[in-house]
Symmetry: D4
């Protein structure tokens, strides 16, 4: 509603002051003192607030996830450990812990639409890829996995290109020299979300080598998320996938 | 065509050896000795090869752009200077030079569909933003500009949020602390392509401050391109925009 | 005015819809297409918008400074060169160019209150210090300069400490190893704003050595601005100075 | 006392040699062999020496804090762990351990004046924020906390802006992209002390992303302390707060 | 076989469709879901795929090494720990664990030809050197070790130069300032593969000092592998050694 | 000759003291005061000293190249500009200036043996590649060029792989993300010398992105030279090529 | 002995071939296979080889220290832990472990001459300072300690300056901003060896802040050793001290 | 004079108040407003203040050098250009400009004592070496130059070692991998001052490679100055040289 219209409705009594106040505040949140849970995030961004568990206490995590789940019936926690999981499970018995991906999910998505491809260069990139895959799945995407297709044996990738080309959005997860993102980017027309990982020998500097390589990709149609940020990659890909299937909502 | 089917057609004479060879080579290119012009890029990625002019000689640039234009009727050169332009104009008289964006375009896109929003934090970010805007436009997107809406005066952004929310893809261009990407990312649901610029005082280290900030954005649904890479940002946004309007092709 | 009260006034007709709309938009700005001049900045932050001239065209600079001056009767441009100045002078004949500080000022502050000390380690730090000094002066502070008092000859500093201690806020400008900030910080009780400069031999890496040194200062009561950011240092010091003299407004 | 006057008093016998020597040494300290406790720091900088416990042995910590407490009746230890605390408690039974902030306090401040606002972007920034809050409180400031108001859900911040504007000094604590400091800086007129934290995914490089972002803040009136240095931020804010209430002492 | 010829054979029935398909796929691999074992790597690069064990689970490691061994009768695992070894030994009882080199080998090379020299600057560089030595040995090279010949006592190196000069390829392993590579490079005519290690005090930054030194070597005929990457160095040297003895195969 | 044998010859008069002294000094050089021309380098390393012209005066360059040419009849200068060339040409009239490669050659190699492949990712990498190609040629290698075969259009590379596989050593020259080295490394069995270039947008940081990518290459059998160091890459490849054809000399 | 003379002696039989060979080898060492103990180091550099224990096994450490002690009657091991010590003590019962300095000494220096001052900024810098002090003492210097005299309370330093000025060489040990080196450097005329430590908050980056500060010191007559390298600092200071007392030997 | 004694003399009239004041201020300086010329530096550090000309205006430079020369009859300016020189020559006609070293000297040292060796790795390091040599000479040292003795042809260095060993202090100037410092450090017993230069190809990062290499030198008895800081190296070496000849003064 436009601001002018709202004010006109208040002026002529169509809308109560309280309703207008609520509408103007517009974005509501719940104050847990140590956290302000953002209940309007789903309305704004299409998915409920996601909880980054690392460095949060198990108890904080459980309270926040519980508050979100109570509103949305669906909640996702990333970078979780077993202690986080136990605290969450105590209040949300349906919680599931995906250990290698360090993800806690509660509830299941209503639909699985479209096609998001998650590719990794090697086996050791799989935990980050799983973070991406589960995130995309929670956001309602149908997910296809293509693991260990790095460029040291490029025939493994070329052999699957036709399938990968069917995806609406592609996540390329790679450490070391991160060449996978460029090679895929040169072979497909869907947007590629490149996710560098911290996998590698000495001078990868915690993923810096793959990050810089991906930022400098010679293949257009690629954008990059933070090192090891499978969540961000999966979320971005799911957004593109959703718009591709449903158009802009 | 599946490989097996192709070979079957060769075996039964439906397809000539020459046609099969061509089909198998599949991706063709033109060899100018100093460059191998990639004529199949449009088929693969949805847009003809784009020419990165910097460090190419004017003559090389003109030959490559001419070769591409001859096939596709549309060509884009980035990071061009006046000398590049003169050499290109000599062989392609319809060439247009967009000086602040350092872009040469020849030909016009067949359509302008959807809605791509290009936002900048400040006035000095505009050249990079124009590179993004012209790229997106060449790729067939309708482009809307929102310039100088940085967070030092956040009301300027909040005042335009409703319009920006209508876009299918958003490019956020910012230097210094790059906060614009996070703030927009928290307010919209379309994918945000964050483009850091090298604008700033001392410790921005050529755009590193904005780059790191954008990679670390707390707002999900954001991915990042290289510093000052307006082309990459515009291209990515145009792809998302196109899929949103037309679905996956 | 509280939101509830405003809405009540609209509801009972005390306030017109238009006035309420204006009030709610609250922060106004002027759209020059390439810039959105922030006319409410003075209300919000105590000083009109300051123009960062670098990378702006002379014409853009002149238009923006003119728009601000028209409202506030006072305007400051930083990182300006002679071309910027000529363009500004053409529309604002009272403009003054402080060349070594790269500052354009138009108008003079209404008052000069309190005491801001600007100290430098060496002679080559003076241009940055002058940027700080002129900024603080434009913001209404009385400014005292203590130049070339670096620690290689610490008696030069100790000799002036008693004067420096009288300041309400101190700006310490130093390149190389930036030790001045720590030494001053250990000798005074006013807040110290440390401003690293890019002055120095090889491994100062454009001011990084002084920046890191100042961030790691062992003397509490010190905070740091960006490398060569005299403007930021002078502005911060002027704010502290003003609150010290006038309390919170 | 001026040096000349002191010497005159010695010359005419008004002041004894011993008294003059003491006065000239001026700043006294206590030598514990492994530490020289700076008993004149309170006189010089307005607060007794603060003990950085990390890497000190529990015994060293206890001896130093005890020496300071004996003179000033108030002592603050930062970066302390449980072992430090036990050693301190053994000699100073009133010691209190603030575990998440890693702070030991002994004694309470005589007053709580003014208004210092401590804001965090997220829940995981709270330990650093508490270091800042307790430091400011020990230095005599009234402290107000605004936690988890980061820009991913900017309405949470906007909702509290009016309160935050009342503060004499504001500490903005944020990791990741550190945008909070710029957004607050653009909305208030009090000085903002930005404190980056090491919270975040891969390419935050131990807080570097937030640090660089804050140093490059487009909002004037902001200065930065070291990564995770809640103590430095709280101390700086308390100084500004004190001067705002009491003027320069 | 040339593509045209193959197609001609298919057309005239000399080759079956299935054989052609296989030939065209050309490079085969085995899909273990979490890994795609590259069985054609030996054909392509002269040695079977090598398994980088770090971050792989023991079970993944055992399955992959077993699959490779089944085909090639020889397999090498690097960066392995005792748990990896136990899992591998359970399925491949002939597995040997070289603990300080963190290498698992199964099978022995058919030959030991030529001469590869492995030199270290110090004793603490030996584990990385052993990774190189064992890799070169598995790849069929005769290996000679020259340990602790760093430049602080250059006579130790000069004393052995005549022997080192006999090698077909030389691996220079050094941490700290990495000078060994340059000094050897200036004394021999065989190619030198420089391998920086992370050995050293503070500002070696995890091997960066040696890496940069080696990249900047003033001695031509030197190339560098990643920090602590003994495997890469040994593999490269073995390739050069093999070509020197056998010519290009 | 072994030291013991030499001394025996001196003892029994077979060798004169002067000859022994000369032999023991062993490596001779010519002192030009500002340079000590290393005339024994050819004996030691298989090729005369190469002159790095950058930052040398034209006169120094000419004197050094002349001294080397006088002994070896062949001399190579790298990083030369037109002024260096003119000074050299004045004393060595046969000097040839290869402008884009910034190389001066005098004399021609006696033979062109084997096969060195020089590949580039893009057109803008050609100057560095030419430095490599001319260096390898001067060192007696037959050189084959494969330019603009980067991974954004990987069919251009795959189309030439069979030819590239015939080389005894391969130089892979690439900027941006440097993926070319890994992709080639995965497809061939000859040693690959990876040469990163400083070509690229913002976050390539002067070639750092390609350098790190190449150091982290997942393809074994690759080693790396310094950024833009075509000379080093060509020299290394020529050494491997020579040993492959002639064995160890 | 000059080379020519030696050869003449061999020629005329004055010197045996064996003696000449030994003389020419000149620098002898002992080969322990994993280490080549440099027994001529004392002759060359004035002190026996020092053992860097970190990453060496206890057994290696014991063998090397024992070999050195056997020749020189004095041996120093740095970066040692308790396990190293036990292994050394088993073979050298007189070994002493200086735990906080992580140093093992066996034997005592014959003299303590001159005056070396070891200063630290804080208490937490003491372990590194002790490494320096014990090293200097083992090298025969008389050592004076000035601990916790950092610039946050500069009167503590000024109070001791007269004593410090008496030293022949000064070691300044400091972390954080490392200002101590510059301040001392400005106050004394003896050479200052600056030793940065890794002590500090976030952006000290493992000692980088102090290292850069010290390298950029505005006070001439200062040189820097590696981060936390107390050994290097003490050794350098001892050399200067010795030459000052005894002249060049 | 001890403080107590001075005060006693004032008390009993032996010393006038004015004399005491002077003595207590102790270090005098001359205030040129833009510079505080430190006339007591010679007394404190053994040599008059040295003027760092870079970024100073020619006029500032001339005034400062003139003021110093007036007192000491000897003055040294570093990093000077032709304009600085002309301004200085106008007021000090005896000024001499050493162009490649960028040094202005006025006056000559009274003596040339001892032996300082200045070594460079290559010809392009000579300008920095000359800065060191002229500085040492101005400080009264006899200087010996050993240029172009880098490790790529180590016999050139070994050939001169016996001479270099005679020096009281050695400056090792090198770019690229900076190995010269370590190699010399292992061969001599005098203190070595290592001076990295910014000479080199790509990844030397402005001298960083040589700087890190030198800081990590495996040869004890070495300390490092800033990149390209010939002045600092020469000054340090001259101090050590002077103390070696004259003992501590």
């Amino acid at each position: 509603m436009e601001l002018k219209e709202l004010l006109a409705q208040v002026a002529d009594g169509t809308m109560s002051i309280e309703a207008a106040e609520q509408e103007l505040k517009q974005d509501s949140y719940e104050d847990l003192s140590f956290a302000k849970v953002d209940h309007s995030r789903e309305a704004r961004s299409g998915f409920p607030e996601v909880v980054f568990c690392e460095r949060k206490t198990p108890d904080q995590t459980a309270q926040i996830m519980s508050a979100i789940y109570g509103r949305s019936g669906l909640v996702l926690g990333t970078r979780a450990n077993a202690e986080h999981y136990e605290a969450v499970k105590a209040v949300l018995p349906d919680a599931v812990f995906h250990e290698s991906a360090k993800i806690i999910t509660v509830g299941e998505p209503k639909e699985q639409i479209g096609n998001v491809a998650i590719c990794t260069a090697g086996t050791t990139d799989i935990p980050v890829a799983e973070e991406a895959a589960l995130t995309a799945w929670m956001c309602g995407a149908e997910v296809h996995r293509y693991y260990d297709v790095g460029v040291a044996g490029i025939h493994r990738l070329l052999d699957q290109v036709e399938d990968i080309r069917k995806a609406n959005a592609i996540v390329a997860v790679a450490g070391m020299e991160g060449a996978l993102a460029s090679v895929i980017g040169g072979l497909v027309n869907a947007p590629v979300v490149a996710c560098p990982t911290s996998v590698g020998y000495g001078a990868n500097f915690g993923g810096l080598s793959a990050l810089l390589a991906m930022l400098n990709s010679c293949a257009a149609g690629t954008a990059v998320v933070n090192i090891d940020n499978g969540f961000g990659a999966g979320f971005m890909a799911a957004k593109v996938n959703r718009q591709t299937v449903k158009g802009k909502e």
